[in-house]
Symmetry: C2
Subunit: 212 residues, 2 copies
């Protein structure tokens, strides 16, 4: 967990990742928890350069519009960041959530737990990859509908994650966005509360000052 | 990963889980990947019996209405399942997503990756708990707004997971819903596609038969 990193195109090697390694990574996904034991994950394993090129084109479009969301000083840094490795990684895996038609035990009150199960599977893949000395990067700067169309996905499925997988030059000792001073590590203690949130964090106070 | 289990109230021991163990579990959460290194997780650690009782009451309400979603034969089995350990587990942890006010790198095209980051943190907690021989169960049969109110959560935060944590009688060798024949393990191979989904899985065919 400590040594897991998000790997981008500046760090992937061209060396092929053999099928038996990809199989072990997919096997780890299938060991993830899932709401009502629904196992609602599907995987598209991509090695084809033409398909990667189409996904990469979607990234370029989305990335250009994402850049404009940042203030001028951050915009310049943003433009220099290498944020994905779609073409550089020998293997891409698109991970989908496939909803069930029947009701799923435990999913009625919080329907998003279906997608969450798929995210647990992705985190297993990330840790298993690291244990096998394989790098993994999650690309979220994509139009999910465009990727669904490129991969011929059934309409009901939802793209949860698009992963780039390959051997790496090195695993950095700290996250890249920390190293490049985009963002600092937050102190964990500030994120922990005991028994409940303190009263004064709640903006919608129930007890208001009496009107005089 | 292979030996991780969802633990319920039929299997938690009353033995206390010391703070240093809970701290290690929370530390593992903070090592999770997060979109744009946003680290958007917050944790409420609950040991107070009165707060647990309120959350448990929300579970009972939701569970009663969840039961009615199933057909008659499954309804009976459902009613006999023990699906949570809110009162039995010495420690509960509510895990929240706290959205940032500023734009987050990588979150523009897929806003749900904020919550997904929190799910990655939960999966780290699950695996770290198992490595420490501590059981963890994720309760999703809850009204998230009711739990937010009980815990005095800021309105903008979203409840992602409610976890029950404690030592266990045993870790079962297979998932409980498999053992109780509620659902079987799916063959992994059926969930894997190569390069793209096959043409015929797509209901919205682009090429239609010519109209004569």
């Amino acid at each position: 967990m400590l040594h897991r990193r998000d790997v981008r195109g500046n760090n992937f090697l061209a060396d092929d990742v053999p099928d038996d390694i990809i199989d072990r990574i997919l096997r780890s996904a299938s060991l993830a928890p899932s709401v009502g034991y629904s196992q609602p994950w599907e995987f598209v394993v991509i090695r084809d350069a033409a398909i990667k090129a189409k996904v990469s084109a979607s990234f370029e479009l989305e990335n250009k519009s994402a850049e404009s969301a940042f203030a001028d000083d951050k915009k310049e840094i943003y433009a220099r960041l290498k944020l994905e490795g779609i073409l550089e990684a020998p293997v891409n895996i698109a991970v989908f959530y496939k909803p069930e038609e029947e009701p799923v035990l435990g999913q009625g009150s919080m329907p998003e737990t279906g997608q969450y199960s798929v995210v647990c599977a992705v985190q297993n893949m990330w840790l298993m990859s690291r244990a096998l000395n394989v790098g993994l990067g999650w690309v979220s700067i994509l139009d999910p509908l465009a990727v669904k169309e490129i991969l011929n996905s059934p309409p009901a499925n939802k793209l949860v994650a698009y992963l780039c997988i390959g051997y790496v030059g090195e695993f950095f000792s700290t996250p890249e966005l920390e190293r490049l001073q985009w963002k600092a590590r937050k102190p964990l203690e500030a994120a922990i509360h005991r028994e409940s949130y303190p009263e004064d964090t709640n903006v919608n106070k129930k007890i208001q000052a009496p009107i005089i």
